[in-house]
């Protein structure tokens, strides 16, 4: 069983929660150093991120190699992430119907899904408004 350093996990999660945008592992590392709380090394950060991910408190954004704190509280459902290419913000939403459809499509060829990744790049509402106004 995992018996992680809770302090590290809390610190890493706090950093992710302070950002709206996805944050890279090395950004976390840098913020830790600047805050002088502690100097961590990459494996420490990656282990913390992995533990937080296992608990459902953090999601990895595959298309950005970066991480975001979960905004939905803990959920077992995989989520759909909408990533704004303008401001970098990420919206999470859960759509059981889509996931069910995906699973059935995969199943048509005998494929058994284990984990899904759905990421949509585009422009968020406020950036769109901004560009239309300006």
């Amino acid at each position: 069983m995992s018996r992680h350093n809770e302090k590290t996990l809390e610190d890493v999660l706090a950093i992710l929660q302070r950002h709206k945008k996805p944050v890279s592992a090395y950004d976390v590392l840098d913020e830790m150093s600047v805050a002088k709380k502690r100097t961590l090394s990459p494996p420490t950060v990656y282990r913390a991120l992995a533990a937080l991910k296992d608990r459902g408190q953090v999601h990895r954004v595959e298309s950005l190699n970066a991480y975001v704190a979960c905004r939905h509280g803990r959920h077992e459902q995989p989520c759909i992430m909408s990533i704004c290419e303008d401001c970098g913000s990420v919206e999470e939403c859960i759509a059981p119907d889509v996931l069910r459809d995906l699973a059935s499509i995969a199943a048509q060829s005998g494929f058994t899904p284990v984990r899904h990744m759905i990421e949509i790049h585009g422009v968020c509402a406020s950036c769109r408004e901004g560009s239309m106004a300006g």
Copy 2:
């Protein structure tokens, strides 16, 4: 307008087509060197991959940082990739319904999608059979 070295593009595409599994940019590089066709450098390979991607002949698998040749002929629709975690093979399929649903979900919060990424990790039919038999 892009006026790429077609020879390079063909060579890179040929390597991707020889593999069922996703191939990293550096794998391509290594195969080129071994075949002694030419010694390429990373930017050359990345540029070729980008050009092939623009043409719809290659897909990037975000969750693996790797690339596969498109099996569907050129298509404008984004595709759903089912990745077997056992044998590493990738199946592509196109599901307009799912994409439409995704777009409408995103639109509910005013988000305008530009590009989708749907990757499903799991176990393919033949690996599943194998594991059930053995």
